[in-house]
């Protein structure tokens, strides 16, 4: 049977030709890299407009993209086995740093998210975005799938601890993304549907206690505002009203690049970060939005293909978790900007301004490429 796998691999590599072999050596998955490049370069145009034609911001974002692309390529060179063997340590390191944030963290606007090493400031929660799916994939694939109850309890604890630490910083958006990456791995591992439904039921049941005991006032306000933005036009409702107005006024064709009045006249808050899709929607219309959706669909689709083709449980769990997390962040952003979900700080992947999130995302895609370009023989020979 091992021969079958080898043959399949040989046939496919034979069809690819010389150029593809070159890409393969460099562990580049063109179907992933091309849409990512399209996104980040297209995003530059939107960002330039959204930032009020700021050359400085454009330059900074180009640098971010360059760094992120380098990170993507570097990460892709890791062998899957290497990733697997270090996953626990990365997770423990990330945990350590999160605890450190608890005591030594710095931050602004009442949130304590950053760790400063003097020469560099970074958010340990971003490291956890990578560490979480790695660790969960490692833990769950150690034993036969689906995981037994004991393994699941440990897995949930591994999800809950860092998520809770990030939540109390407070950083609801990142906490949700981190939790999602872990839960996605558990889902991929084949957790029984009855558990899933039980957790969902538990989640719904815990809405009330969460509302009373967990959510902070500003978070509650965001939820309330979602249902009735007009109740607080100039306060919490402002963002939702302005972003919906920006999106809605775009129409089919949009008002033209740098011509969106909502974005250009500063009515739209956070236009260059979390709400950047509103700028795109206003200036490029529904056509632009559709194109953006298409590119995201390509990335998601390719991610699923890679997951499907991945050769070990570890890689499938990891790939599935990474794709699902990317998907989750995307959906939350698209839904919150269009007024379907409360405003949580989740950027639009690859388009919103900001280097850190882009780098951690590229690490994720680097790992996906490492998985997709993994030599099939490796598995068969084991």
């Amino acid at each position: 049977m091992s021969n079958d796998f080898s043959r399949v691999a040989e046939v496919s590599s034979g069809e690819l030709g010389a150029r593809s072999r070159f890409l393969r050596v460099l562990h580049i998955d063109l179907w992933l890299v091309l849409p990512l490049l399209m996104l980040s370069i297209g995003g530059l145009f939107v960002l330039y407009s959204a930032s009020g034609q700021s050359d400085v911001m454009l330059g900074a974002q180009m640098r971010n993209i360059a760094v992120a692309m380098a990170v993507l390529l570097i990460t892709a060179q890791f062998r899957v086995e290497t990733l697997r063997s270090v996953s626990l340590y990365i997770f423990l390191l990330a945990m350590l740093l999160l605890v450190a944030v608890l005591f030594f963290g710095v931050g602004a606007k009442g949130a304590q998210r950053w760790l400063s090493l003097g020469f560099i400031r970074f958010q340990p929660s971003e490291i956890m975005k990578v560490a979480m799916p790695l660790a969960l994939a490692w833990w769950l694939s150690k034993e036969a799938l689906p995981p037994n109850f004991r393994a699941l309890v440990t897995a949930f604890a591994m999800v809950a601890l860092p998520s809770g630490l990030i939540l109390q910083q407070p950083d609801l958006g990142t906490s949700l993304l981190v939790a999602t990456s872990g839960l996605a791995a558990i889902y991929m591992a084949g957790i029984q549907w009855r558990y899933i439904f039980s957790v969902m039921a538990l989640g719904i049941a815990s809405i009330w206690p969460a509302w009373v005991f967990v959510l902070k006032d500003y978070q509650k306000q965001r939820v309330l505002t979602l249902f009735n933005p007009e109740s607080d036009r100039l306060g919490a409702g402002w963002n939702i009203i302005q972003s919906k107005t920006a999106i809605g006024s775009g129409g089919w064709e949009g008002l033209g690049w740098t011509q969106g009045s909502q974005a250009q006249l500063e009515f739209l808050p956070e236009g260059h970060t979390d709400f950047i899709i509103a700028v795109l929607a206003e200036e490029f219309g529904f056509r632009g939005v559709s194109l953006l959706f298409l590119v995201y669909a390509l990335i998601l689709g390719r991610g699923l293909v890679i997951t499907w083709r991945a050769q070990s449980s570890f890689t499938r769990l990891l790939a599935g978790a990474l794709v699902a997390t990317f998907f989750f962040g995307l959906v939350v952003n698209l839904a919150m900007v269009s007024g379907l979900l409360p405003v949580v700080g989740v950027p639009l992947p690859m388009v919103s301004y900001g280097g850190t999130a882009m780098v951690s995302m590229m690490i994720a895609f680097g790992m996906l490429m490492a998985i997709s370009t993994e030599k099939p023989v490796t598995r068969a020979m084991r």
């Binding site: 049977m1 036969a144 799938l145 689906p146 889902y187 991929m188 591992a189 084949g190 009203i241 302005q242 919906k244 107005t245 920006a246 999106i247 809605g248 006024s249 775009g250 129409g251 089919w252 009045s261 909502q262 250009q264 006249l265 500063e266 009515f267 929607a281 219309g285 529904f286 939005v289 559709s290 959706f293 995201y296 669909a297 998601l300 699923l304 997951t307 499907w308 449980s313 499938r316 769990l317 599935g320 794709v323 699902a324 998907f327 959906v331 698209l334 839904a335 269009s338 379907l340």
Partner: protein, 613 residues
């Protein structure tokens, strides 16, 4: 081998599990992405118009540009109400660091009154956000300098240049023109709010109020693109304001000056009209006030002084003063008697100095009794009775007509009806009748009351404007136009509007006119004193209106009465008698009688008849 096979089986099972999960994940992704795509489609395509409108509301600020208020000129083009540039101190509350501190320092620097602050607070409630609120109007050069020097401590304070209403003739035309004032809460209702955006003043009384819509003009609007912080970026479009219409009055400033100076300190009213059009040539109400004081907020003490004065300077006596018309109605009643054939031209009535109803011991005295101790004559006809203002003749005539015929006869002359002059708040006077008394007083009419009404006393009240209209109807032999101060709006003449017609035979008119001419020109005429040096012929009628009732057998002793109890004097006149050019009605309050009124009319007629035309 078995271990390897086992491993192979595990691997296949795990692959199946994860592939299943990927499939479910893929389905979720497709659904979620399609759902979100539809959400954006819904917002962008389905609801596009709403959000486009919302976006425009965000970015477009509407700024109003006040129109120039219409100018008012007299018949010769003399300026009566104009707009002059003035500087206004204003505060934009949002831009002031500490509003209270700014107000306090302004109060110290400029001596602002509590009223200024109150009006400011009031105005603040009505304005748009980020727009300046006026605090003090008509800054002097000195005040401008003080503001400029202290600019650094006056955050949010600005000096606006604008046009403000000015009345060059001051108190000469206060009552007729009225004035504009700052718009108060009650001055406009919600439906007019847009039409007044950017306009600070509104006509409050007089012509300024009556012609408010024409004078106001239309507010200009410019749409300006602003960003979220309210910074103006560019003008999108602009509708220029339409200036208000200019009013040309029939009024003649020269005649007005003559009338005013002839009235001197006397309280009272004068109105002169062109009988051919109903155009009001002059309208004086004494005492007067200066309308300029009201334009930018009169001080409370000044206002209280005007409001509470016993002389009621704010009352426009021409249309709001109601007085017994007294003997001025005698020509009209005489005409009514002839028309209804209760008398003829030759009917004579003996005048022993008093009149008695059959079976009634009460004596209704003739005014002549007090002067001469006897009646006018053994036989008084209509002509002489008008000229000499014989009361007894008209007691008899009134008795023959009866109260309701009197009421009907005076009604056709417009007594007791609004004249419809183009001024607000006109009073109607009282034309008593049996029906009126039942309705208003709630009792029956007595025969003796008819006699009193027959000499224009008792319940009957009329305004000077009504008498001017009635006199016009006499002068023109039966046609009077609605009185009008305005001759033309923006150059378009206002067409005279027929108000009333009185029909009578020509010889009846001749007889009544003869009596009115005799009033001035016969030796026994009650206005004989104005005759000397007359260069034209005049028909007139005096009147002496009692303010307090004189008891039976008591005599009217002017010395024993206080000033406010003395009789009012009336004089109505027109000239020339044939084809008259001017009608005058003069009322002098508490002046003793008609002899104080006709000199005013004489001065006006002289001026008018000798003018160059």
């Amino acid at each position: 081998m078995a271990r390897q096979l086992n491993q192979m089986q595990d691997w296949a099972r795990e692959t199946r599990i994860t592939h299943g999960r990927v499939t479910v994940l893929a389905v979720m992704m497709v659904l979620a992405m399609l759902g979100l795509l539809y959400r954006y489609f819904f917002l962008q395509v389905v609801q596009n118009e709403e959000y486009r409108a919302q976006s425009d509301r965000n970015r477009i600020a509407v700024r109003t540009v006040a129109p120039t208020r219409g100018v008012i000129v007299d018949r010769s083009g003399n300026l009566l109400a104009v707009n002059t540039p003035s500087f206004t101190l204003a505060i934009t509350p949002e831009r002031a660091d500490d509003l209270d501190a700014v107000l306090t320092s302004l109060r110290d620097l400029l001596g602002l009154s509590e009223t200024d602050i109150e009006l400011f607070t009031e105005a603040r409630k009505r304005r748009r956000p980020l727009s300046p609120v006026p605090l003090k109007y008509r800054l002097t050069d000195e005040e401008l300098a003080v503001i400029a020097v202290n600019k650094h401590v006056l955050s949010g304070v600005s000096v606006l240049s604008e046009l403000t209403r000015h009345y060059p003739e001051g108190d000469l035309l206060g009552h007729a023109l009225g004035y504009v004032g700052r718009i108060g809460i009650d001055d406009i209702d919600a439906s007019e709010k847009d039409a007044y955006r950017g306009i600070s003043h509104i006509g409050k009384v007089g012509l300024e109020a009556y012609y408010e819509d024409a004078l106001k003009g239309r507010v200009g609007v410019s749409r300006i693109e602003t960003n979220a912080r309210g910074v103006e970026l560019k003008v999108i479009d602009r509708i220029e304001p339409v200036p208000g219409a200019h009013l040309t009055l029939h009024l003649d400033v020269g005649l007005q000056r003559v009338a005013t100076s002839a009235m001197g300190n006397m309280r009272g009213a004068v109105v002169a009209m062109d009988p051919k059009t109903g155009g009001v040539l002059s309208s004086v109400s004494n005492p007067r006030y200066d309308p300029n004081k009201f334009v930018n907020g009169i001080s409370f003490s000044d206002y209280a002084g005007l409001r509470d004065s016993r002389d009621a300077p704010l009352l426009n006596r021409v249309i709001q003063g109601q007085y017994p018309p007294a003997s001025t109605i005698k020509p009209m009643l005489g005409l009514a008697g002839l028309n209804r054939e209760v008398i003829t031209i030759d009917t004579v009535v003996p005048d022993p100095g008093y009149y008695q109803l059959p079976g009634d011991p009460r004596r209704y005295r003739d005014w002549i009794l007090r002067v001469r101790g006897t009646g006018h004559a053994e036989e008084m006809n209509l002509r002489d009775s008008i000229a000499q203002s014989c009361d007894v003749y008209f007691y008899e005539l009134a008795n023959r007509l009866g109260i309701d015929a009197i009421a009907e006869s005076l009604d056709v002359f417009g007594i007791g009806s609004l004249t419809g002059v183009d001024l607000p708040s006109e009073k109607r006077g009282i034309l008593p009748s049996t029906e009126w008394k039942r309705r208003v007083i709630g009792s029956n009419w007595y025969g003796g009351e008819t006699l009193i009404v027959g000499i224009g006393q008792g319940y009957m009240l009329a305004t000077p404007m009504q008498l001017a209209v009635a006199t016009t109807a006499l002068a023109t032999r039966g046609t009077a136009f609605k009185p009008s101060l305005v001759a033309a709006v923006d150059g378009t003449p206002v067409q005279p509007e027929a108000l009333l017609t009185v029909s009578a035979a020509a010889e009846y008119w001749d007889e009544v006119f003869a009596g009115m001419v005799d009033t001035v020109s016969s030796a026994r005429g009650t206005a004989f004193g104005m005759r000397s040096g007359l260069a034209y012929d005049v028909a007139g009628k005096t009147g002496t209106a009692q303010v307090v009732a004189i008891a039976q057998d008591a005599t009217y002793d002017e010395e024993s009465l206080t000033e406010y109890q003395r009789n009012h004097g009336w004089f109505i006149a027109f000239a020339p008698v044939e084809n008259p050019e001017i009608v005058v009605a003069v009322l002098t309050e508490n002046s003793g009688g008609g002899s104080s009124a006709y000199p005013v009319a004489r001065a006006m007629l002289d001026y008018w008849m000798s003018r160059d035309e």
